[in-house]
């Protein structure tokens, strides 16, 4: 019995180590590249011989990186906020109200989520130019919101479905308006769902490259993934590998912070104790 448990442990520990190493190796490689001086980039060694922060100071001196970082943060945060707020209202309505076409809305939303974004890039480019949305924050926020809303609506409606309807009713009888009942009772209970969707929307907006390159042209709205491609080396024949790696490391940090902060809020079983199960 005991021996089997030990072999179980070894098996699972080994498996976990393999998965973690497999997932983190590229990240470590990027980190190592970002610390290598230019002459070491192609030496094929895993660890930098003479680590330096030259690449990091170089990208901050380049005027496009700080503005791209600002654009990325602003656009991703606004898109997240809008998507989560809209999805929360939509999901609540879909779960709680009985109206015709409910199933159609849900399957329609799913269809949008499956729609390949690259297929609409051409028309969107032309539309955005005539609507003066090209190369603006909102020009990116709108597609990010649109493509993440379905996923957010589905996630949130799953959470709302778990919340006993008696709680809405109790709040209404206790004197709350429908909106108060939603804000004070239902929304706090759906918070884990809202944070889950927020993380997913933020990651989508933060990592997107397609819309960011197609719908921007200057530092006004270009986000980091697009800006990285515009990095130039110190000479025409010098590819800025080190700086790209440094920029990648910098843009990964907000994602890690975001996930760590929000994941603590995603506590399972927040609704336990509401009703006798």
């Amino acid at each position: 019995m005991n021996r089997r448990r030990t072999s179980d442990k070894v098996f699972w520990a080994g498996g976990i180590v393999i998965v973690v190493v497999y997932a983190l190796l590229p990240v470590v490689w990027i980190l190592s590249l970002s610390l290598k001086p230019t002459d070491e980039i192609t030496n094929g060694k895993f660890l930098p011989q003479d680590p330096s922060f030259d690449n990091f100071s170089a990208i901050w001196k380049d005027p496009q990186f700080p503005s791209a970082l600002r654009n990325s943060l602003g656009i991703a945060l606004i898109a997240t906020l809008l998507a989560v707020v809209l999805a929360t209202f939509a999901a609540y309505a879909i779960v709680r109200l009985d109206f015709p076409g409910k199933a159609l809305i849900m399957s329609g939303a799913l269809a949008i989520a499956m729609f390949p974004p690259v297929a609409i890039i051409g028309p969107l480019f032309n539309m955005w130019r005539s609507l003066h949305l090209f190369d603006t924050w909102f020009g990116l926020i709108i597609p990010y919101m649109t493509f993440t809303l379905p996923m957010a609506i589905w996630t949130l409606s799953a959470f709302f479905r778990e919340i006993p309807w008696d709680l809405d009713k109790a709040a209404r009888v206790d004197g709350a308006t429908p909106f108060q009942a939603f804000r004070k009772v239902i929304a706090p209970l759906a918070a884990p769902g809202m944070f889950t969707s927020a993380i997913l929307v933020f990651i989508f907006a933060w990592n997107d490259f397609l819309f960011a390159t197609a719908l921007t042209s200057t530092n006004r709205a270009r986000t980091v993934p697009a800006a990285i491609t515009f990095f130039t080396g110190s000479s025409q024949f010098d590819f800025p590998t080190g700086q790209i790696a440094a920029a990648s490391v910098v843009v990964t940090i907000p994602i890690i912070v975001m996930v760590l902060v929000f994941q603590r809020r995603i506590v399972a079983g927040l609704t336990s104790g509401a009703v006798k199960g």
Binding site: L167, K169, R172, V173, D174, T177, L270, G273
Partner: protein, 409 residues
């Protein structure tokens, strides 16, 4: 404090089903009023209509003379205790109880004192800072009650508040609710499917079946003078024995015996009679012949029964036996479905008799039993209407009459 008038209230759902049909009665100020019936009879829907969680299709709901039909639930000043308790899981007990007051923007110090008072009444003082997840079922139930009483509402509405508690706690809480209601004197409407709860708690009870109110009355009225077959079968435990019967001249033919129709019964029948009758006899109106004095015996019909099962309860004894009859009443089967009772054995209806604990009746043995003729109810099988009531007027519960008066021979 409120008087609630239900004026021909009806509820029809979108798909055409009628959940409540013409509910028409008045709940007096300060009354403890029970809505009782088997599941699906519309009692919870009716409660939700009173509190405003369901729209009223037809009729008027008047509270202290004001029409409440279109008033938002938040403006009805009624407090509800849900079957699931529906306490807010992200708030502590204190916050749960303060919630309705906070919404009403009651000053902070008043909220505190009212929550403290309610917590004292319900013995929740120790638990005020706990979250619902860390409470037992009974404690959660008390929090739900607490959230209702802090508001000092016009009426309490309770939707099966005890059905999630275990048997012992249910009886304790039942008594606690009765005391609380007496102390606060607030009009209370209480929904339950349990006839024992209905009889023990209610000042008055409305029995519902398939969306229709069958009878409204005090527990004694319902027990002694059930208006129809359904109420007769629903109220009382063990249930009233309902047996096919018919009248032939001066004789009433029951499956176990034919009895002469007494003059009183004939007077009350006022000529109403039918070939298809159902006789209703409460278990306590049987007695072991050995415990019946001669004088009492004059009102009794005796017969011999073969006992199938004995349930000895210490203070009394229930004997189950089967009677054989050619007659059958489809109406009784339909009603058994509504009541959720199951008839075992196809030989004939099963009868339960409540006998003196000293009875020598034994399983598989024959015993001579007496049946109190004066206590027989007669129902029209087709309409279900009670066509003769043995008491005729609201009287004492005759539950213990036969057994107590009996002197051992």
């Amino acid at each position: 404090m409120a008087q609630i008038v239900l004026d021909k209230l009806s509820k029809r759902f979108g798909d055409g089903t009628v959940a409540v049909h013409d509910a028409d009665f008045t709940i007096e100020d300060g009354e403890f009023f029970i809505l009782v019936g088997p599941s699906g009879c519309g009692k919870s829907t009716l409660l939700n209509m009173i509190v405003g969680l369901e729209d009223i299709t037809d009729g008027d709901l008047l509270v202290d003379g004001d029409r409440f039909n279109d008033r938002d639930p938040k403006d009805r000043n009624m407090a509800m205790v849900f079957q699931s308790y529906a306490i807010y899981p992200h708030m502590t007990v204190r916050e749960n109880m303060a919630f309705p007051l906070k919404i009403k923007k009651v000053p902070k110090d008043e909220i505190e004192s009212r929550v403290a008072d309610a917590a004292k009444i319900l013995e929740l003082e120790e638990l005020l800072d706990r979250k619902p997840a860390n409470l037992s079922g009974g404690q959660r139930q008390r929090v739900a009650m607490g959230r209702a009483i802090v508001r000092e509402p016009a009426a309490f509405l309770m939707d099966e508040p005890l059905s999630n508690l275990d048997a012992k706690l249910r009886v304790q809480t039942r008594t606690a609710i009765a005391k609380l209601q007496q102390r606060l004197g607030t009009t209370t409407v209480y929904v339950t499917h349990d006839q024992t709860e209905a009889l023990t708690l209610g000042d008055r009870v409305a029995v519902m079946r398939r969306g229709e109110v069958q009878q409204v009355g005090t527990p004694r009225d319902l027990y002694n003078e059930p208006a129809n077959l359904f109420v007769a079968g629903f109220i009382g435990s063990p249930a009233m024995n309902l047996l096919p019967a018919h009248m032939e001249g001066d004789e009433l033919h029951l499956p176990m015996a034919s009895v002469p129709v007494p003059d009183e019964m004939r007077t009350r029948l006022r000529g109403r009679t039918s070939d298809r009758l159902v006789a209703g006899i409460r278990p306590e109106h049987f007695e072991d012949a050995a415990f019946v004095s001669e004088e009492e015996g004059t009102h009794m019909a005796s017969f011999t029964a073969q006992v199938d099962v004995i349930e000895w309860m210490g203070s009394e004894l229930y004997a189950y036996f089967t009677v054989h009859t050619e007659e059958s009443r489809e109406e009784l089967k339909e009603m058994a479905e509504d009541l959720g009772t199951v008839e075992f054995g196809s030989e004939g209806p099963q009868v339960v008799a409540r006998l003196d604990a000293g009875s020598q009746a034994a399983e598989g043995k024959e015993v001579e039993l007496c049946l109190d003729i004066d206590r027989i109810h007669l129902f029209d099988a087709e309409t279900g209407e009670n066509i003769q009531n043995p008491t005729g007027e609201t009287g004492e519960v005759p539950a213990v009459g036969a057994a107590e008066a009996a002197t051992p021979a």
